[in-house]
């Protein structure tokens, strides 16, 4: 890819339309300008067009994307255009950010600023790794590796749980086998057989016995109830007879106190109470009467018959109680009959297993059955049935226990086997991924180290320096060591190299990385990278850039370093295009000489 033209309008310092025509015959463009002449505007424009970054202003506090607009310009005015032999890309300001169109094929950009070099030169191993990660980016694989590592840990936990489940089940089943007297010679044969035993008949028998025992309890309740009712009716009959005899004796003692007369008088009293005052004749004999006087007389006669009145009421109440007791007795007799028959039927159903037969119920009718309570023969059988229930519950409980733990044992056996297989595979995979990642990064660092060393020696020819070596720090993830030679010794260069030597070392490292991870669509932008360099090293530096420039689409170097102006303003080298920016003003914008 060859750069042709960069056009700026309303972008930062470009208050007027600015065009930079690249010399297509040269791979390197050196842009010289004093501070404030517009160099950063040019480098930021390329950065904004080629990347999502907003260039150098992102490093300054109190700035935002709105500061990309030239003073007094509208967002619609902003335009960045880069023409190349591979296409034209336009960037504009949309929704407070720079949008490049078309979005495909945009030239790649590697921008190296002075600050990057200083930071890298002084970085500790972990920080150095972060710088290199921008180039040797294996973060995606490293994240996937972390997930695999988590899987291994989870599988180990699951395996431990399943092994514990298996051990617990095995221990319980062995104990049960021991308790049973070690049948069949080994525990697993016995457990397998016991777990598979069909308990359908036992369960059915248990249910039937339990139902029969329930009926037995109902029968006892019904019998008890009927006994009470029977007793009650007997008492009620006795009470009624006693009161009736007393009433008759009272009438005999005082014949005038006939109970029928008492009734008649009471009715007459009620009649007079409820009729109006106009009654003047007796309603029975039609003789003339005085109502109030007659009421008083009737009341006096009733009072003299008080004893008869009381006993008459008691007789009536006793009769009612007897009737109620008769009803309840009839009802409890029916319940007793029903429950007795159901119980008998239920007992006879158990006959084949427990030797129960009709002989147990030798009663010709319900009355004789009732008279025979509390049925000692039946009670004996019921007691045996209760014992049978206890035995069946123990047997079925043990079966459930064995079946449950046998099932746990079988399931955990399979799961332990599967988990072991999966865990083995996961561990092997993790080892492969981890080794591959480390080897890959080591190989990359090794390749980069070789190139850094070559580049560095090019700048510092005949100096006892070099031997650059980058390698991953042992047992430390995300940490890169850097060593270099100093008078024949391999040292950490930060302690032995001068500031400018460290700067060129960091620059060579970034240049080597850009070469390795860039291509002929990559623009290398060097924004004021070297400021303190003697003339000899300066020449070698520029020579190096020209030599390496064929690895990139183009190399753009900005500087305010005056010696470069003197050296290149009057002459252009074969591969270097020199551009000088003159004084910037708000009216004229960025100006070229």
């Amino acid at each position: 890819m060859k750069l042709k033209t960069l056009k700026l309008k309303a972008f930062r310092g470009a208050t007027q339309t600015f065009s930079l025509n690249f010399d297509e015959t040269k791979n390197v463009t050196l842009i010289y300008g004093e501070n404030g002449s517009g160099k950063s505007t040019i480098s930021d424009a390329i950065t904004c067009l080629c990347t999502d970054s907003i260039g150098s202003i992102k490093d300054k506090t109190g700035t935002d994307s709105g500061d990309l607009l030239s003073m007094g310009s509208n967002a619609n005015d902003l335009k960045i255009q880069l023409q190349t032999d591979a296409g034209v890309w336009n960037a504009s300001f949309v929704s407070k950010k720079i949008v490049t169109s078309p979005s495909q094929g945009i030239p790649k950009l590697r921008a190296i600023r002075r600050q990057h070099i200083v930071d890298l030169a002084n970085a500790a191993p972990a920080e150095r790794y972060k710088h290199l990660k921008n180039y040797i980016d294996v973060d995606g694989v490293a994240q996937s590796e972390d997930k695999l590592r988590t899987l291994v840990k989870n599988l180990e936990s699951q395996l431990l749980i399943q092994e514990n489940t298996y051990s617990t089940a095995e221990q319980y089943l062995k104990e049960a086998w021991e308790k049973e007297g070690r049948p069949l010679g080994n525990w697993d044969d016995w457990v397998g057989e016991a777990a598979l035993r069909d308990t359908g008949l036992e369960t059915e028998r248990l249910q039937k016995i339990q139902i029969t025992l329930d009926y037995w309890r109902h029968l006892q309740d019904a019998t008890q109830n009927h006994v009470i009712n029977h007793r009650n009716i007997k008492q009620a009959k006795e009470d009624y007879s006693t009161l009736l005899a007393r009433q008759e004796a009272l009438i005999k003692e005082t014949p005038e106190q006939e109970s029928s007369l008492l009734v008649l008088l009471e009715k007459m009293q009620q009649h007079l109470l409820h009729t109006n005052n106009s009654v003047q004749n007796c309603p029975i004999c039609q003789q003339s009467i005085e109502k109030s006087q007659l009421s008083i007389e009737i009341g006096q006669r009733i009072a003299t018959m008080e004893s008869l009145s009381e006993i008459t009421h008691e007789v009536e109440n006793a009769k009612k109680k007897q009737q109620i007791a008769e009803g309840m007795t009839e009802q409890s007799r029916a319940v007793f009959q029903q429950v007795f028959e159901v119980f008998k039927e239920s007992m006879l159903e158990l006959a084949p297993n427990y030797g129960i037969g009709n002989a147990l119920f030798p009663y010709s009718n319900l009355s004789t059955a009732y008279q025979a309570q509390p049925w000692p023969e039946i009670s004996k059988v019921v007691t045996q049935l209760g014992q049978q229930v206890a035995q069946l519950n123990v047997a079925l409980g043990q079966h459930t226990f064995i079946k449950t733990y046998w099932s746990n044992l079988c399931k955990s056996y399979v799961q332990v086997k599967d988990l072991k297989d999966t865990l083995k595979a996961a561990k092997e995979a993790l080892q492969i991924v981890e080794n591959a990642r480390k080897s890959f990064v080591e190989a990359e660092l090794n390749a980069v180290s070789t190139d850094v060393d070559a580049l560095y020696r090019r700048i510092h020819e005949n100096e006892p320096l070099g031997g650059i070596s980058l390698f991953l720090k042992e047992k430390m993830r995300g940490s890169v060591e850097l060593t270099a030679q100093f008078h024949g010794k391999q040292v950490g260069p930060q302690a032995f190299y001068s500031e400018s030597h460290l700067d060129t070392l960091a620059f060579c490292l970034l240049l080597a990385l850009t070469k390795r991870y860039g291509d002929n669509t990559t623009i290398l932008l060097l924004d004021d990278v070297l400021s303190a360099c003697d003339e000899q090293h300066l020449d070698r530096f520029l020579l190096l850039l020209q030599e390496q420039s064929n690895h990139f689409a183009h190399t753009i170097l900005t500087t305010h370093y005056r010696p470069w102006l003197k050296k290149y303003s009057s002459k252009n080298s074969e591969s270097l295009h020199f551009v000088e920016l003159t004084e910037w003003s708000i009216e004229k914008g960025i100006q070229m000489r």
Binding site: I136, D137, V138, D139, G140, V141, A142, Q143, S144, K147, L148, T150, L151, N154, D421, T422, A425, A426, E428, A429, I432, V433, A436, R437, F440, E444, A447, K515, R516, Y517, G518, D519
Partner: protein, 61 residues
């Protein structure tokens, strides 16, 4: 040699080695992409490994 995308390059190396060691098969089209861009989840790994284990067990039978 230029390494345009180290993640993709490394992911290919890993996939090849995992296949050669018989730990995964080549039936999952998303494996490489997920491995490369860091979106592999625990379950993705588990599925890839178990899928191969099942195939191997069937073959053994």
């Amino acid at each position: 040699m230029s390494q345009q995308n180290p993640n993709e390059h490394l992911a290919k190396i890993i996939q090849t080695e995992l296949q050669q060691k018989g730990l995964i098969d080549n039936t999952n089209p998303n494996f490489l992409q997920k491995l490369s861009n860091g979106t592999m989840k625990e379950n993705d790994w588990l599925n890839a490994l178990e899928s191969k284990l099942k195939t191997s067990n069937l073959d053994a039978k």
